[in-house]
Symmetry: C2
Subunit: 270 residues, 2 copies
Amino acid sequence: LRVLGELVFVGLGLFDEKDISLRGVEVIRRADAVFAEFYTSMMPRLSVQKLEEIAGKEIKIVSRQTLEEEEGKPILREAQKGKAAFLVPGDPLIATTHVDLRIRAEKQGIKTRVIHGASIVSAIVGLSGLQNYKYGRSVTIPFPEGDFVSETPYKVILENRVMGLHTLCYLDIKAEEQKYMTIKEGLQSLSDMEKRKKERVIILSTLVLGAARAGSNNPTVKAGYVGDVMNHDFGGPPHALVFPGKLHFMEAEALITLAGAPDQIRERLK
Amino acid sequence: LRVLGELVFVGLGLFDEKDISLRGVEVIRRADAVFAEFYTSMMPRLSVQKLEEIAGKEIKIVSRQTLEEEEGKPILREAQKGKAAFLVPGDPLIATTHVDLRIRAEKQGIKTRVIHGASIVSAIVGLSGLQNYKYGRSVTIPFPEGDFVSETPYKVILENRVMGLHTLCYLDIKAEEQKYMTIKEGLQSLSDMEKRKKERVIILSTLVLGAARAGSNNPTVKAGYVGDVMNHDFGGPPHALVFPGKLHFMEAEALITLAGAPDQIRERLK
């Protein structure tokens, strides 16, 4: 006897269809309807067909429009009458729009649950080797909107650095247009802002770390001075950037050994 | 022909043996030797026996002493001659000691790789409904060491709040003694500090969110004023705390709908 519907948010992780957890697989196999979105993050090698084989059923892909303008109605309709699963890249409630959907569901009396997944939020901490509790707030470097360029990323990096903290910069994606900002474009955007603001946030001697395809078998992680990282070949998306703050001894060792940073960064510890 | 050994760090996620990813299962099935540690985070329902059934082989549990005092030598020995997997709760390189092991391995010519897992770092963002990019730096509330009580958590919450940012407080664990700090103990520790510092970081009207057993089928998440949260029954460990900063409209809705915060918190938006 099923009196109430259920909506389970399932995290898909970072790279392909194998990043779902055993718990997530269990949920989608038991679900009456399975939805997925792929516009909030990019999973480079995910095959919907392989995911459908794992699920043993059809997966309906929903667009940004369905979620944001139509407020996820097709998902809520299924969740009202049975068990619906909603598959989301990364950890499923990092995107605000999904928190909104969860609130709507609960207000309609639909039970909600979360199956967490690996996320760039924690993956970058491990890949960088920089300590988790020394990351300040994170920020997204957006594509310019016409002539408008946001000053926020520049300001956040500066604020964090003053406190000795690291900054994770997400890079904008426009999935519908298949546009994924590269590390080079992100650094270029900040360098342009440097010319206007001149607060020495990003100059030649600034240390930066770029990471591409976290969660894959061959992520590219490279730390160094801005020019070196800008000209490094990171390969395909998604990309992310980290601006290190004050380095602890082991953090410097990690940047050198795991991310190819120059040996001289040890001098910065003194 | 295998000329170099390999060490793969595999994230186990949050709750039990089903939180490993399909990619993680693949790695441990192919590994020549599998190690695991369970002292950096607590996975409430993990069964090593069930994990061994999934892996199809024996899993050697390593202690804090083996990793920190003996510098992970038993793991590195196996990784030098073949494919070793090292299973870690959460996302595997959040704990600094594992970054240290990775550096050691690479310096010995052992190839290393990371299979990411769900982590409290991102899970708490989803469970709280508070926006990811508004979290400032996080902090651990430690058990007192004799008479010494750290001022750091109190200071970090204050610094973040001044900037309008949220603070995630991890709660200390001493796995060897099976001691896991509760939300109540964490709040009590901060209240004691309040009596000395008097900067109004934690007073009766302070809004706080507690979360227990993230990643389980029945996590307990409750937001409210300090006294209410302190007296709420959160059930078993692990616990975590969030101090919200300035709230956006949807964040307040999330705290009310998803975490049972009082309706009056909407007033704080004005």
